[in-house]
Amino acid sequence: MKKAVTTPFWRDKRIVPILLQVLFSALVLIAGYYFITNAISGLQQIGIKLGFDFLKNTAGFTISESMIDFQPTDTYGKALLVGIINTLRIAFFGIILTSIIGLFVGIAKLSNNWLLSKLATVYIEIFRNTPLLVQIFIWFFAVFLPLPKIQEAVTLGPIYLSNRGIAIPWFETHSNTVFWIVTIVLGLILAYLLAKVLMKMEMESGKRRYPFMSAIGVFAAIIIFSIIFTGSGPITIHTPAVEGRGFVGGYTLSPGYSAILIGLVIYTSTYIAEIIRAGILGVPKGQIEAAKALGLKNSTTLRLVIFPQAIRIIIPPLTSQYLNLVKNSSLAVAVGFQDIVSVGGTVMNQTGRAVESIVIMIAFYLIFSLITSGLMNLFNRKVQLVER
């Protein structure tokens, strides 16, 4: 008689995966249990209980640069909020500036002009092969701090350079600004609608209707009307001036902020330049040849054929570079600019709440990353090819 063949359970295809997962979870749980009990007993020894109550206590330290009013009598929670706002301030201006510079360098590297393309290559190679922190140190310790005293500030046109910071002209809003914003928005909407209508007419009738020219004309007319009506520009530009031991007017960037911003912008722009170059080169040659065969102008080819296809290649890596810029802004702690990590470090030193402070920092970066990649994914889905 034939014996019934039974598979031993350790070779059973249905049971093995479950066993493996149970084993894995057990290992992770044991390790986690070991670490956490150690941490809790260690914290108990120094008499610290975990919890976020300390955020309500008075901070007692000053923050030199803050967009919202902050006094030493405010709470730790508010100090951390100021840190978050300062990080976002670097992120916002950094992303805008680095995109512009990266775009120009990327295009310059593709240029037919040998010298320009070589210059762009040298720029990229130098700044991407040196650590960001070294670059920030050079900007901070070797460029901005040794600048002359404020009384002997170097002037570059309306810009003042001194060891107290860089003063640049800045705009100021006045009573007519709201009116201006309304008219500009209205003008843009009108111009857009007009262009659309004229374009449709041009397509239907086949006769030239000059949609773009008319749109620009309408917008310009509205601007001129507003100037006559209000008798002033939308904003007033304030140029800084030295008065005693400080700057008056304009906007003053501290040496720390300038160093971290310039360092980040230049470092990240080298990566963005390469991404843009790869994106443009990634458009198949046949597409450009087809556009030429159709008789499209160079600028039209760029606008309607190359750009929409290149942007699809560019967006995913660009997103991760933007996130890198935000994460790298944490290096501000090295030059004393009070971003979230720097404020968190101060809080940590003053309260001894290392675990909670680190949790707050990490939570901020994780949430920010999630939001940014969510938004970029949304944008990405819009430009992505709809495949059948």
Binding site: P17, L20, Q21, F24, S25, V28, F35, I36, N38, A39, S41, G42, L43, S111, N112, N113, W114, L115, L116, L119, E125, I126, N129, T130, P131, L132, L133, V134, Q135, F137, I138, F141, A142, L145, P146, K327, N328, S330, L331, V333, A334, V341, G345, M348, A354, V355, I358, M361, I362, Y365, L366, S369, L370
Partner: protein, 400 residues
């Protein structure tokens, strides 16, 4: 309809050969002055380049570099005791032997690495401030490099042993630095300068690679528990800045390990760097795994290979080959990122530079110190980037 006439009787124009332009002139016309806009660009870029170049060269020749030559030893090896420097030289000699052998065995990209290291040694040899005995050792190493190169070309059979020794190189180096377990160990707290940078970088590269590989395989696993564990780990680490990981390493690792275990600052930084780079390497390797066509899996399965065999003999060899350039790119990032340990108080190359700048004796020498530090990083990153580009070509990544 209009008649189309061909002028057949007309004498054909005699085509003169095109005016010969000298090659240089033609190149100039095509690449720099093809249109008025291009000419304008050329002039503008020439002005900018000239201005920057002039000032850089002026700075290099007028700056007082004595801060570097006086502190060269500090920048290279930190506070490592001078009577124990022979340990570093032993490890360096071992590296030279390995490098020479690999140069002879593989040539190609290895030759580029070896020649670059050789060039660095030669430049150091002729630097005026280097001590005589250092020069002798460097000279001996250069001779050794050539000797082992010839040995390597003659003995193609030792490829596998050489690879094995390369893999063991980092543990062996740390063993040597600690005095072979016989002599008094040199505490890792006084490791410093470029030596520390190199040690942190290589330890985190070597250790994070297998962890990254496991994470990548785990992320593609069919077991949901394993898969989500890996996904959460990778995305968590990639979502936070390195500096917070280093803070966790400095502050939380001692807490997690309890009272029984003491680990040094350097070790904690190495753990932090390793955990950080493993997540990034995992994503690179996952890219390689995804690039393998499904037919390969199916072919392996239809041959009756077990999962482990399929992975180790069919999938991984192809996937890893495809991601070598990307991994080298990641190694460059790790190397650059080691500079962040200066923020948590270690005296790596950058940390040592910071200490020098803070020294009142060298007041106002920030530019010289940090430019030198940046230059050292640049040489190594540039070299690695160059090798990565070469590998991309020689391995034919992206071409099938």
């Amino acid at each position: 309809m209009e008649e189309i006439s061909f002028e057949t009787n007309k004498e054909p124009d005699i085509l003169l050969p095109p005016k010969t332009q000298s090659r240089a002139l033609r190149w100039l016309r095509e690449n720099l002055f093809s249109s008025w806009f291009n000419a304008l660009l050329t002039i503008a870029s020439a002005l900018v380049a000239g201005y920057i170049l002039f000032h850089t060269i002026q700075f290099i020749f007028t700056a007082d570099w004595s801060v570097i030559s006086v502190n060269f030893r500090l920048l290279m090896i930190g506070q490592f005791p001078i009577e124990e420097v022979w340990r570093i030289w032993t490890a360096f000699g071992l590296m030279t032997v390995l490098l020479g052998l690999s140069w002879g065995l593989w040539k190609g990209s290895m030759a580029h690495v070896a020649v670059s290291i050789l060039a660095i040694m030669v430049v150091m040899l002729v630097m005026p401030f280097i001590q005589m005995n250092t020069r002798l050792i460097l000279g001996a190493n250069i001779v050794l490099l050539f000797l082992t190169f010839f040995v390597g070309t003659k003995l193609p059979k030792i490829k596998v042993p050489v690879l094995l020794v390369w893999l063991l190189f980092i543990p062996v180096t740390i063993f040597i630095l600690n005095g072979f377990g016989v002599f008094e160990p040199v505490s890792s707290n006084i490791w410093g300068g470029f030596l520390l940078t190199m040690l942190i970088a290589s330890v985190s590269i070597v250790v994070s690679f297998p962890i990254g590989l496991l994470l990548a395989l785990g992320r593609r696993s069919t077991l949901p528990v394993v898969k989500y564990f890996c996904v959460i780990y990778i995305e968590f680490i990639r979502g936070i800045p390195l500096i917070t990981v280093l803070f966790i390493g400095q502050l939380m690792i001692p807490l997690f390990l309890g009272n029984g275990i003491e680990i040094s600052n350097v070790m904690r930084a190495m753990i932090g760097m390793t955990l950080f780079s493993a997540a990034y390497l995992a994503e690179n390797i996952r890219g390689g795994l995804q690039s393998i066509p499904r037919g390969q899996y199916e072919a392996a399965q239809s041959l009756g290979l077990s999962k482990a065999h399929m992975m180790s003999f069919v999938i991984l060899p192809q996937a890893l080959k495809a991601v070598i350039p990307a991994c080298v790119g990641q190694f460059i990032s790790i190397f650059k990122d080691t500079s962040l340990v200066a923020i948590v108080g270690l005296t790596d190359l950058l940390g040592m530079g910071q200490k020098l700048v803070a020294n009142p004796e060298f007041l106002g020498k920030q530019m010289e110190v940090f430019l030198f530090v940046g230059f050292i990083y640049f040489i190594f990153c540039f070299l690695m980037a160059h090798v990565s580009r070469r590998l991309e070509v020689t391995l034919g990544v992206g071409e099938r």
